[in-house]
Symmetry: C2
Subunit: 467 residues, 2 copies
């Protein structure tokens, strides 16, 4: 495995000149733009690339890769900039390849429930464009991420308990490899046993194995009825245990999200709601009119058995959307609790039977350390987040935050879970990955070395191969 | 990529001696046993290994791999022997590693709906052992395959339309790599974004990247109600188009299987049934009592709209099981149409809108060539099979069969589908794979070379790298 070496000025100059020839004004080098294309969404430090390019099609992406390959200059794919673990940073500089101008919805095949999109298309715009088709792309990580970025980080979010993650909802990818070769990883068949699963290898590879240039997605029918509601619980434990029961009986719940007291307060303030300031489950049940109502009723019964009061739901779209907007704005609502701060977010995912313990331990540790944070999560998957509001300038606080985050990860791993359910490794969880996968890390490195022997694709991520 | 070289007698002798020391009587070299461990399930030729070993645990598998690695002798994993594309053949000899004695159900975690099994456990025995838990492992390829083999070939079958394939139902694998290293590919969390998806890379790799020694499976709750039934159609086209409509409206059908007239005749004879000799859909709807009945009713309505008569279903378990036993025995029933023959099975999987065309073209070609075959399939996935009864000694007929099978694959690929929905590539579809994936084949080869640089694991499969 090549160590990650900072490219010299001659190489960068040669790449700049070649990209200038290829792209003209679609090569940019201003410091402000470069900063914007590094990690910005969280409290992790910003390491800007040397330049940013804006390709318009796959052939240009291939030509860009070939130029960077020839000069061994790093190439960092950029979607919408919403990743949380420093995936977009350029620790040794190089070229950020901004896919936002490759944002076409190329094909919709309603009869096969398939769409073919360019990677820069965002999920909200995709669903906006699908609005008259009766179909939807259900994967919803909260942020208006790009489809390419969602593939690269194996995104999931609130709907995963029903529809799975990006790994279950992508049929095929077009990918530009490190040396510029263009491959296609699958077909439009819903299942396949044709050789290695390159689609799933690329999904979650965080731009380190190839650059995604086209995505063939599975779409879903919009359910006949969707009911959304809330259930207010006496304690975090009661809410967590209610979810465990629901999962164990196989309740067909579309979404189930936990918000702790602090997060409810933040949402009330930020989204102008008047939710009771207690641990709360937001839920959605979808299906036929009868099955949605059946499932909501069972949801309510289980919640009541676990002490919930004030359980109500609605089929009214505006009311539902207002509730779920609050959940979607949760990250920004949490940050607004402490103006001027930056957010850092944990991402443990554990077997469902271990969920309550992991959440309660996190709450206890949060309080013991005197940190400001909120707890929320896609609890139906065993995935929960703690959003920490931190002052980047306060080193002592940052150390405390880091220790807290490590505790979350260690407890999750000791429970048979993972350090990351959906945010990925990036720069932020490289040590955690090594601890989690053990000898499999060498297998991952071997795959990386096989497909990107010069190590130009998104260096310094996943493996920590800093020189 | 190393070409596949036949190991010399000295290397084989050294391996035999070392395995003898390690395993004693669990090394076998009789010609009959070796023949049994090569491909036997279909009309493809048999290429026996030089010896067969029966490890008892992961440490032994690791030691066996190390011995083969040191002497560059091929190692071919063997599960239950039910693969259909020559996956178990040993074209240059070597060691067949029979996993049948590693067949323990190690752990069941009902609260997390997870089981941990050894690879030699068969799916029927797994479900037999789970019978008092209220849980089931739903992936059902028909044959009583081993769980390890089902992982290796990315098996799916009749339940995939509801539950997905092995790729969606395995959380983690323990794998012995070519050089004997032992890795674990995942955790018990239901989802993860922790690095490359080694689980999905191993699933479907047909024993060419590693030897699976333990599998962590997702289990499912047994539905409250399961209704099974049949609908009889006036034509193949009408039956196919009914299925297309069901898929497109998102009907929650548990299983939907098409059988053509010849297959119905075969099943009537073999399973002693009295089904009407017309194209027939077998179906199952499962869920709550209300939702199963709702869905069966919608199934019947759509079937009627497409001209079906004689639609009936039952909740009675014995009656259901008798129907589905007929479907499960379909392969053997088809073979019984022509005593002494061998079976060869096509496995195209196409986007659902192309299903009717592909099936009708296959039926037409079958008739035009005067071949004896039946058509059946997991049509909810766009996956269908033609079972051909061939006389292995008749070269002219075999040429006709091969041409027919190539036609099926070409039409599927031209429809945006794949040459194999669930049987894999093995030796039988190497040309088809190359045609289907194009430049991605070189990426697959690079992965193979990275993880098995000596090419000892199941050589001569997938890529056709015969020397």
């Amino acid at each position: 495995m090549n160590a990650m070496v900072k490219p010299d000025q001659a190489a960068l100059g040669a790449v700049r000149a070649a990209l200038q020839d290829l792209l003209g004004e679609r090569l940019q080098t201003s410091a402000a733009l470069c900063e914007q294309h590094a990690n910005t969404a969280t409290g992790r430090g910003t390491q800007a690339p040397d330049m940013v390019v804006f390709p318009l099609d796959t052939a240009e992406v291939s030509a860009i890769a070939k130029i960077c390959w020839d000069h061994a200059v790093p190439l960092i794919p950029f979607g919408a900039g919403s990743s949380l673990e420093g995936q977009l940073n350029a620790p040794v500089g190089g070229v950020s390849i901004d896919m936002s101008r490759m944002d076409a919805l190329r094909e919709v095949h309603p009869e096969d429930m398939i769409a073919v999109v360019q990677p820069g298309l965002t999920r909200k715009r995709l669903n906006q464009e699908l609005r008259h088709s009766g179909l939807t792309f259900p994967i919803d990580p909260g942020a208006d991420a790009s489809i390419g970025g969602m593939c690269a980080t194996r995104a999931s979010g609130t709907n995963a308990v029903r529809y799975g993650t990006m790994a279950e909802n992508v049929l095929s990818l077009e990918v530009v490899m490190a040396d510029g070769r263009i491959i296609r990883t699958g077909t439009r068949a819903i299942k396949s046993a044709a050789g290695y699963d390159l689609t799933r290898l690329m999904i979650g590879s965080e731009g380190t194995l190839g650059i995604i240039t086209e995505v063939t997605l599975r779409l879903r029918g919009i359910p006949e009825e969707t009911l959304g509601g809330v259930a207010v619980f006496p304690s975090l434990q009661a809410a967590s245990e209610a979810v465990i029961t629901m999962v164990q009986i196989g309740l067909d719940v579309g979404r189930v999200e936990l918000l702790d007291v602090n997060q409810i307060r933040a949402c009330n303030a930020y989204s102008k709601l008047e939710l009771a300031e207690q641990p709360t489950l937001f839920f959605e049940c979808a299906g036929t009119d009868a099955s949605a109502r059946d499932n909501a009723r069972i949801f309510a019964e289980i919640s009541e058995e676990h002490g919930a009061s004030d359980i109500h739901w609605t089929a009214d779209r505006d009311a539902r959307n207002k509730l779920w907007r609050a959940r979607h704005d949760a990250f920004w609502a949490a940050l607004a609790l402490r103006p001027g701060c930056k957010g850092l977010v944990s991402d443990a995912c554990v077997p469902i039977s271990k969920l309550a313990d992991n959440i309660l331990e996190a709450a206890k540790d949060l309080e013991a350390r005197g940190l400001i944070g909120t707890i929320l999560g896609h609890v139906g998957d065993g995935n929960f987040h703690v959003v920490l509001m931190t002052d980047p300038a306060d080193a002592a606080e940052r150390a405390e935050v880091d220790a807290f985050l490590k505790g979350i990860t260690k407890r999750a791993q000791a429970s048979g879970g993972t350090c990351t359910g959906e945010h990925g490794i990036g720069q932020g969880k490289m040590e955690s990955l090594a601890a989690e996968v053990g000898p499999a890390l060498e297998v991952m490195r071997a795959l990386k070395a096989a497909l990107d022997p010069k190590g130009i694709l998104n260096p310094g991520k996943l493996f920590g191969e800093l020189a």
